[in-house]
Amino acid sequence: MKRRDAIKKSALLAGIAFTGPSLLSLLQSCARTDRLNWQPQFLNENQALFVSAFADTLLPATETPGGLDVKADIFIDLVFAKSYDDEAQQQVRNNIDQFNAYSENNYGAVFADLNAEDRKRCLMDHEKESGKFRKSVWGTAVGEEEQPPGFYRSLKSLTLWAYFSSEEVGREILVYDPIPGEYRGCIPLSDVGNSWTF
């Protein structure tokens, strides 16, 4: 999307009038990226830029849509806004700010402003350091936890959910079969292709 269009759209969504000073400040704050073309419900602009950049780096578009194509970032913000309690929300803000502070200290800019290579390096730093999720049985984690998954892996998990539970991926890419009608326990994978949607 063209920068000017993006600004117009986000400004309209936010109900901001296009007058001198606010237009200027909007241009400045958006100078680092042309991507924030949506109005967050919970995140501030810098935090929203981070989530968009995170989703784009984690799940870039290939021959299949990327995280941003299915609006994973917008859904993540919605989950923070409506499903997180006050304490968890504050934790999210702190964690994003810390992630950006790490990025600035080690790569010279906040995550959204890094070039593609530095974004990958920055993610891999966190990938190496983060604990893992435990397995779960009937909706609840089981087994001993060695190290909690932490913010990076939790956001990664949230981003995967946002992407794979989207209608576009669920209907067009995974194999959508809402009423299977039968159970067959052992068939060639080639008969299905990709994973079932759910």
Binding site: T57, L58, L59, P60, A61, T62, E63, T64, G66, L78, V79, K82, S83, D85, K120, L123, E127, K128, K132, F133, R134, K135, V137, W138, G139, T140, V142, G143, E144, P149, R153, K156, S157, L160, W161, F164, S165, S166, G170, I173, L174, D177, P178, I179, P180, G181, E182, Y183, R184, G185, C186, I187, P188, L189, V192, N194, S195, W196, T197, F198
Partner: protein, 568 residues
């Protein structure tokens, strides 16, 4: 479908009152109505009509704003129930409001309630196994608790009777400790389950692995459709393919024209008539208006669920029963049992990479009890036994969270199914201990000013020893089955997680040590019947609901014949 008659205003006198409309209440209503008794079913929650009141039954994730996730407000309303891990946007409307219905955990105890027509029959796990004399004779043989007043032969015809109407899918095996039901065709095992089955059965003589026996139709029955393998059961099934009161027993009761069901009816107490020496009716509080009304009937069936029935009986005091109706023995509220839960192992397989399955089977595998069987060496560490549930599938995209990778190729790989995984989790029998109990808490009142329940119960050494053996055996079986990356686990869940609470108004031969007789009548108040989980004298290690159905049908038909003979 026909509308339910919910007009209880025009008549306050009935032949029978049934308290509760869940799995056992639905059966009581059906049997009593079909035998010609004008029956009032009292339901403390709202009416839930089959199909039309299943608002999320066909939702895909993207049809809901938060795709199945719930809000902090919902988590507050369900602050206890949420511990189960089962409550989400798809089913939250079928779980009780924990704020309006508080209870006290003297020791940690998860009490899952479902306050609407159909109760937990909308939410249950649907696994159905007959008990055997290994279970009915257990107390008598090892001395824990009191002897059951019935044996397998007493209940066997009633198992057959309820199975034919409920519809139980499964495979006959001929095991004495897990008698075969009257079965509809079994569901299929998948590739990995078949492999694990073959390896376990060849490596461990005496152990079997079978497809779960479930209350799902695998062919149409009585106008109900067969399972479509959507695995969206706890939202309500549009086909009526799994057994619920809403889809099966209550419509049958309604069809007789003999049933009135009164929603929003909280039973405050059962009224005892000292002159007649029996109960004359019940007193209810309207959940919406708080108005108190009394209804009369010749017999009363208590099917509010084990602990709620116990709460009602404890709250039904009078000169004759100062400690609660039928509590001459002092056992009412005691001997609370459940099954231990989420102890087991899981692992991955390198095999069958090019194989997959079709359909979301709402069922898994079952490994029947194989320890402490008759004519077998008995364990020195514990009495009784355990069984396993579990199953295999392929990892989905969520596996990506733990992979040290990201980017385009990573994303596209997650479009394909991941490794096959298999897990089993044990359910151990719990012994009846007098000190595991519930009692009325008159200092903490609920939304309607009624005393709440306090629960004071915990696992003891025998259950913990069974759990250790479950974990050990689970790992060993998965290792011998050739699985990789095995994780064994014990979540140390407190009692209640099995959602099989039972035993607090037990059956027995002796009125001095039990609350109910062999036909589920309160010993000293014979026109009050208790046929939900409260009546259970021991817990077996297999799921109890099928036994509640059979016991209820048996007791209801006994009640009808006693009424005919003017014995009640």
């Amino acid at each position: 479908m026909a509308n339910f008659n919910i007009d209880a205003k025009k008549d306050v006198t009935y032949d029978a009152i049934v308290i509760g409309s869940g799995i056992s209440g639905g059966w009581a209503a059906k049997e009593l109505c079909e035998n010609g008794l004008k029956t009032l079913v009292l339901e403390r929650g709202r009416i839930v009509n089959h199909v039309t009141d299943y608002p999320t039954m066909s939702d895909d994730p993207w049809d809901q704003e938060l795709r199945g996730s719930i809000t902090p407000e919902d988590r507050e309303i369900h602050y206890k129930g949420i511990r189960s891990g089962f409550i989400g946007e798809n089913n939250k409307h079928f779980y009780a409001n924990d704020l309006e219905n508080p209870y006290t955990e003297v020791k940690p105890f998860l009490w899952i309630r479902a306050h609407q027509m159909g109760g937990r029959s909308l939410l249950w796990g649907r696994q159905c196994y007959r008990w055997s004399d290994l279970d009915f004779e257990a107390n008598a043989k090892d001395g824990y608790g009191v002897d059951w007043p019935i044996r397998y032969r007493d209940i066997e015809p009633w198992y057959t009777y309820v199975e034919k109407f409920a519809g139980i899918s499964g495979e006959p095996l001929g095991l004495p400790q897990l008698p075969d039901s009257h079965f509809l065709p079994p569901m299929e095992l998948n590739c990995l389950e078949k492999q694990v089955k073959d390896r376990i059965e060849s490596d461990f003589p005496g152990r079997n692995m079978i497809i779960g026996r479930v209350a799902h139709l695998t062919e149409p029955l009585n106008g109900r459709g067969q399972c479509q393998f959507r695995n969206r059961c706890d939202r309500g099934c549009p086909y009526g393919a799994y057994f619920s009161s809403n889809a099966v027993t209550l419509p049958a009761a309604n069809a007789t024209g003999n049933m009135t069901i009164r929603p929003y009816s909280i039973v405050q107490s059962i009224i005892y008539d000292d002159q007649e020496g029996k109960a004359s009716g019940v007193r209810i509080i309207d959940a919406e208006t708080h108005e108190v009304t009394e209804y009369q009937a010749r017999i009363i069936f208590c099917n509010a669920s084990a602990l709620s029935t116990t709460q009602i009986l404890l709250n039904s005091t009078c000169e004759r029963f100062p400690d609660g109706l039928g509590n001459d023995s002092g056992e009412l509220g005691h001997n609370l049992m459940d099954h231990t839960y989420r102890i087991g192992a899981m692992g991955e397989s390198d095999d069958f990479e090019d194989r997959y399955f079709k359909g979301r089977r709402p069922n898994g595998i079952y490994i029947p009890r194989y320890v402490n069987l008759p004519n077998q060496p008995q364990s020195d560490d514990f009495v009784r036994g355990f069984g396993f549930q579990g199953g295999a599938g392929r990892a989905n995209w969520s596996r990506g969270a733990n992979e040290e990778d990201f980017g385009g190729e990573f994303k596209d790989n997650l479009m394909k199914p991941g490794p096959w995984e298999f897990f089993i989790t044990g359910f151990a029998e719990c012994l009846p201990y007098h000190e595991n109990k519930v009692f009325l808490d008159r200092d903490n009142l609920d939304h309607w000013g009624q005393p709440t329940l306090a629960i004071d119960a915990e696992w003891k050494e025998n259950e913990l020893a069974l759990n250790r053996k479950i974990r050990e055996d689970a790992r060993e079986m998965l290792e011998r089955a050739g699985l990789k990356n095995i994780v064994d686990f014990d979540n140390n869940h407190e009692m209640g997680y099995g959602i099989h609470e039972m035993g607090t108004a037990r059956m027995g031969n002796d009125p001095e040590t039990s609350v109910l007789n062999a036909t589920n009548q309160v010993h000293a108040c014979k026109n009050v019947f208790v046929t939900d989980g409260a009546c259970m004298t021991s817990s077996s290690c297999v799921n109890p609901s099928l036994t509640y159905m059979a016991i209820t049908a048996r007791a209801a038909n006994h009640a009808v014949s006693e009424l005919k003979n003017n014995n009640l």
